[in-house]
Amino acid sequence: MSTSDGWLAAALVPLLALVPVLWRIAYGSPKDRLIGQNLTSLLAGLVLLLAARGFHRTSYNDVALVVSVLGPTGTLIYARFLDVLPDSRLVRWTALAGVPATVLPLCVATGPGRAMVKLLLIGALLIAGSVVTSGRGGKGGVTA
């Protein structure tokens, strides 16, 4: 197994984690669905980062960048319309544990440079987005 296969195998972990998330989104309560949507964009971001490394294409990181920007936006839109922004320890801890566990090895493999700063930026955005959208006592807003 080559190193690029290793990265792709690592990408399989968050990808497979999407299967139970789909179940949650399809059958859960509104709260569960919103948590699921939040978790989806976070996991998708991680998959994309790992896959970019596995395919040896730094330009694929742009897709992860867009996920990290638009994912929380989508979650907040739903929160606004469903009027809940559920407190989710699952999302928070997935972000706080999963993102560093993904981004730091990637940074080591990339080596210092602009690409590394970009990776750190994407990681920071993913964490910030997830923490804000899974915060305690949050509400999407009363009316619009």
């Binding site: 730094t58 330009s59 960048l65 602009r114 690409a115 700063v117 970009k118 930026l121």
Partner: protein
């Protein structure tokens, strides 16, 4: 005065981020980057004001 300062800070930060996003630096890239950063900086200020005094 504060307005200029606010936009300037945003502009500097965003130009820095642009430089991180791109892969090769050349003059045209810098020009486009600083112009985009300026637009985004103005929007940042306009957005903050629109939210602050409604």
């Amino acid at each position: 005065m504060t307005a200029v300062l606010e936009v300037l800070v945003w502009w500097a930060a965003l130009t820095g981020i642009w430089l991180v996003l791109i892969s090769t630096v050349d003059p045209l890239e810098l020009l486009v980057g600083s112009a985009s950063a300026l637009a985004a900086a103005m929007l940042a200020r306009a957005g903050r004001r629109a939210v602050a005094d409604r």
